[in-house]
Symmetry: C2
Subunit: 676 residues, 2 copies
């Protein structure tokens, strides 16, 4: 390039960056709410990445081999919206003007599924960082399974912009350490190091040496570089790309709210610049004051080139895919199926035969392990692991290898004792596509991973969270490890389907339900202790699980005097109590209720058929907090459950001491009947 060209390019770069800055600042100003600081400070980083490197096709946001870009500080959403708009995604300028308004495609924080090109919902800090690691895991897994010599059909980077706040969150530390262990060399993060957080300078809470910390994790730490020096940013990204065995963190010194009169202070973080501030900023950077949401034609043309590049790049990939499909038709078909998210034909064949009549009592974690190992034979996309509890959660896929640097094709993930990152990484794998990922730990530790579970529910993605050791039934480990409130607090998360099966057959149905649930995450809740089969039929009855609750047994078809409702390991108590009461001449119905969410989604008529509104003598039994069951038993029913924390003793002792027994169910039912 001669000097004039360089200058032109440089002018165009700056003009593009300033356009991004003020699309953000104008949107926040118009919404009277939002975060202008990070978009204005980090615009040069994001622009350089998107202009020089990002492999994507704005006209096909779901092209599988696109680079992934994650905006971890989701409060900088206007920066992402600006990039998406200018590079040709289906996000008209009108949407930016409607920032944060009801029904717009530009919510306060980026939301997956709401806006084309948004790869993951971000906002709660640290999550984007860890979700990106999951995306990079999925990429390596698919690459190792499907690439062939000369056919690098899965080969893309995962980029993220990350902030001080992200790096302070523990979930990012967990994910970073694991990413280093896994040598995820295609992970490239730009750290927007602006020295400011809401309470002031980052020094008050964050004096660590970030480069050294990431080096310790096994990352390549680059910089600090001047984030406003595009050549330096470009050079650093090239270095990051050249390093294939370590993830890279590029430390970029930036100025929050760059160009505004209050740049470099916490004041520009989270509120509009104000008319005067906005005017001063535009004047200072040489932008016209009007119109707002100004996009110079040259910028429009320049950044719009992303569409042309993207279409060409995808077309090239499609050509290579065609060649691959010719050379490796089986693999190509399997890959296409996996990427579609669909299940193979006959995916669940054989499940119904796993637990024939006469199957001995077994823990549902055990039957879950058997189901999982049967499923993976047909559902190749199943991949997951545990936060260092696989021998206890029974989630190991025998013969399917360990996912690691030496074998990215392994199906078994080893997350370490990092539940929070595990949840986020599993989400990231689901978001990437091509995998049906699961996590596993004790139910007690669900508390460590609530933020990513909530995001999965909000995003509506198929992530599966296995939780075992689901009650005081875990026994001697004591109250620190005995979940009490966890079932209710999971049931409280909208769009998370919680299923707590009562025997091996319901466990098989629970896994089927989880795989079929493409509209949201599923939490599968399993026992430590052995559970007998609940019926002696051929297993048909257990399919009632898909309705959430079903009539397991009743003394007669007549309207019952009392309804007993159980879930999981306590369904057997309800059943035993029902038979005892029936023996004494009471008209009784026993309902197995493995999932509140599935039941609540049924038509009124079905729900009424299971729980007739005229029958108010209802007893629910579950070795968990009683609170919440009032939804099904009302003010006139009874709940046999826990009112407080558990204790340390053998499980059988605990059930007796806490009064969660068949006898207690019988007694409660009798009392209700007598009161009538």
């Amino acid at each position: 390039m001669n000097k004039a060209t360089v200058d032109d390019k440089s002018t165009l770069d700056q003009s593009s960056i300033n356009t991004l800055r003020f699309l953000a600042a104008d949107a926040v100003q118009k919404a009277k709410s939002g975060h202008p600081g990070t978009p204005m400070g980090a615009a040069p980083l994001a622009y350089t990445l998107w202009d020089r490197f990002l492999k994507h096709n704005p006209h096909n946001p779901s092209w599988p081999d696109r680079d992934r870009f994650v905006l971890s500080p989701g409060h900088a959403s206007t920066l992402l919206y600006g990039l998406l708009h200018l590079t040709g995604y289906d996000l008209p300028l009108e949407e930016l003007k409607n920032f944060r308004q009801w029904g717009s495609k530009t919510p306060g924080h980026p939301e997956y599924g709401e806006t084309p090109g948004v790869e993951v919902t971000t906002g709660p800090l640290g999550q984007g960082f860890a979700h990106a690691v999951g995306m990079a895991v999925a990429e390596r897994w698919l690459a190792d399974h499907y690439n062939r010599p000369g056919h690098e059909i899965i080969d893309h980077n995962t980029y993220a912009l990350v902030s001080d706040g992200d790096l302070q969150e523990g979930v990012a530390s967990e994910a970073a350490s694991l990413a280093g262990t896994l040598h995820l060399g295609k992970l490239i993060f730009l750290y927007d190091d602006n020295d400011i957080q809401i309470e002031g300078s980052t020094d008050i809470a964050f004096s660590e040496n970030v480069a050294r910390r990431f080096d310790a994790y096994g990352w390549q730490a680059l910089g600090p570089i001047d984030g406003n020096d595009l050549a330096a940013v470009e050079d650093a990204i090239r270095q990051a790309q050249a390093e294939t065995e370590r993830p890279s963190l590029i430390i970029c010194t930036t100025v929050i709210g760059f160009g505004s009169p209050q740049q470099g202070t916490a004041k520009v973080h989270g509120e509009p610049l104000g008319e005067a501030g906005l005017r001063a900023a535009k004047e200072g950077l040489g932008l016209p004051l009007q119109p707002t949401f100004y996009v110079p034609d040259a910028v429009k043309v320049h950044m719009g080139q992303a569409v042309v590049r993207g279409q060409a790049t995808e077309a090239d990939w499609q050509e290579r895919m065609t060649a691959y499909a010719t050379a490796y038709p089986t693999e190509a078909a399997e890959l296409a199926l996996q990427l579609s998210g669909k299940l193979p034909v006959d995916w669940d064949a054989g499940l119904a035969d796993l637990f024939p009549a006469g199957t001995p009592a077994m823990a549902s974690r055990q039957s879950s392990g058997e189901v999982l190992n049967a499923l993976v034979q047909r559902v190749h996309a199943l991949t997951g692991g545990s936060a260092d509890l696989a021998p206890s959660t029974k989630t190991h896929l025998a013969g399917y290898g360990d996912f690691g640097w030496d074998e990215y094709r392994g199906h078994n993930m080893h997350f370490g004792v990092r539940e929070h990152a595990m949840g986020a990484i599993v989400n990231g794998m689901a978001l990437h596509g091509g995998l049906i990922p699961y996590s596993a730990t004790f139910l007690q530790f669900a508390d460590y991973m609530r933020p990513p579970m909530r995001l999965a529910a909000l995003m509506g993605i198929r992530a599966i969270y296995v939780f075992t050791h689901d009650s005081i039934g875990l026994g001697e480990d004591g109250p620190t490890h005995q979940p009490v409130e966890h079932l209710l607090s999971l049931r409280a998360i909208p769009n998370l389907t919680v299923i707590r099966p009562g025997d091996a057959r319901e466990t098989a149905e629970a896994w089927r339900s989880a795989l079929l649930n493409t509209g949201g995450p599923t939490a599968l809740i399993f026992s430590r202790q052995a559970l007998p089969l609940l019926s002696s039929d051929d297993g048909v009855q257990a399919r009632g699980l898909h309705q959430g609750a079903y009539i397991l047994w009743q003394s007669s078809a007549a309207q019952p005097q009392v309804i007993l409702i159980g879930s999981g390991s306590e369904t057997q108590f309800a059943l035993e109590a029902g038979k005892a009461l029936a023996g004494a001449g009471v008209g009784v119905r026993v309902v197995s209720m493995p999932s509140w969410e599935l039941f609540d989604r049924q038509p009124d008529a079905y729900r009424e058929s299971v729980l007739p509104s005229t029958v108010r003598a209802r007893v629910a039994v579950e070795a968990a907090l009683e609170l919440g069951w009032e939804r099904y038993v009302g003010l006139d029913g009874a709940v046999i459950g826990m009112a407080g924390f558990g204790a340390s003793a053998p499980a059988s002792v605990l059930y007796e001491k806490f009064g969660i027994t068949t006898e207690a169910v019988v007694a409660a039912a009798r009392k209700l009947i007598e009161q009538k």
Copy 2:
């Protein structure tokens, strides 16, 4: 010492260590459950610390200036129980023989309050690490406030044993980074680096350079040293003590299950050694096979010296305290009061006058800030801060300084964007004693800090968690930041009192309630948006908050046709709806219900007086998940609330769109009355 003495000492050391190892292994064997690996591997570390360094008085476990010792891998509980027993705490050998049994003082994981000398409940990994940081914070705070030249009356170390699993958990990373920033030089951690976790070698998930990582945080990283080399351990602890400006992590290479045939493998982590394994281990280390729970006399005498040393050390401190009290009587009295946990006389004077009739509508976060700033004038122990949201949570104590390296006397903590560690550190401060600590963040981020909140509830300690921006009322930030399920999931934690006041006066009462609640933690839930005063009285009515729910207003003293129940920002809707219905001739009662837990603790008669069981037409209104309110409205009532996630728009639009309005309450009430 001459050689014979050295040899004797060395023999005694080894004998003591082996006694600890086999008290643990025998207890696990007898209980048929537990974790022998870490106690056997880490016994030399713990022994060296307790024998050579730990400043404590086994006969007075609550001596304020004792060193704190935290066993972060709580599964190694038998190691701690052995130490407590042998050094003379009130923990008879019989209790070790009853390990993990109902009613014993030796639960599966150490529990604060259950066993003398246990400083904190541990088990969920990472928590002990972060709680210990909180203890060290409290120590420095008290030292800076109360020590005077020549009177170092608060001057102790906080030690912890930490494991691979602890270091993998994000909460430990958060706490470590903050501890480094705060230069907590009296924090000394022994890292039991045994290379093994449950799924195998730590290499599969944890290849980071721990020393380098902690160095990056601003810690002194020492080692790796051989954990079986007592002189090396002793020397490292001395180096750690000598470093006063940085926390220290001593990396000790150990062998899990040392002495057992399967030492150095995951197999010895979490199950009994078995008869054969136990025999082989005892033979290998030269212990008699019988009796089990063997304590050689020499070990008993030797380790029992801790009592003598401890009594002398405390006596010396008491003498110094007497001198201090003579020289600084005011300070001594104030310190004694703070350490007692009691509130000063007239501690709540003036609160009632803060919000006189005519007080304009204000957000409860705002009134909370005013209450907090009034309280701290009299309650000197109040200290806390926010996870980088203080300007929004309104929790800054004006004029009370920032807690930091240059001023440990500051009352304002800056936790950084680290909610999880914040919760644990606040707990640690409460456990240390001398402070009434609080945390603050948005309610949405309560999910990040559930594990420590649960531990606080289990321990029954006075920690106060402030959560603001408590509903869709936060508006434009959107569903990633709008809590929906969080109220219910907090209410689900046993012994956590959740209070969501409806106006400024209830806010003052909520803070009073939190400070008076010495038996457990309190979550205070505040609005972003302005709330009008609920009554025009002199504020007396708001004291009904202490009963959890009270009659705010009713159309007459007669039995009402319908009861309207509200909490927090929606109580005003219930009140407006009640007045509208009354205007139309309906007999109506309006109940303000800021706290389910406080209400549930009331006698039946009080609860019946507020919610008569015969009145089944009940409408609850709360801008949160509807689930759970069935506890109070039953199957015949109605709930006006959220069924799913929120959205991004101005708050007033959201309330309309989601149908949470006075009109909706009126309509629901009319429908219920008509159905009757």
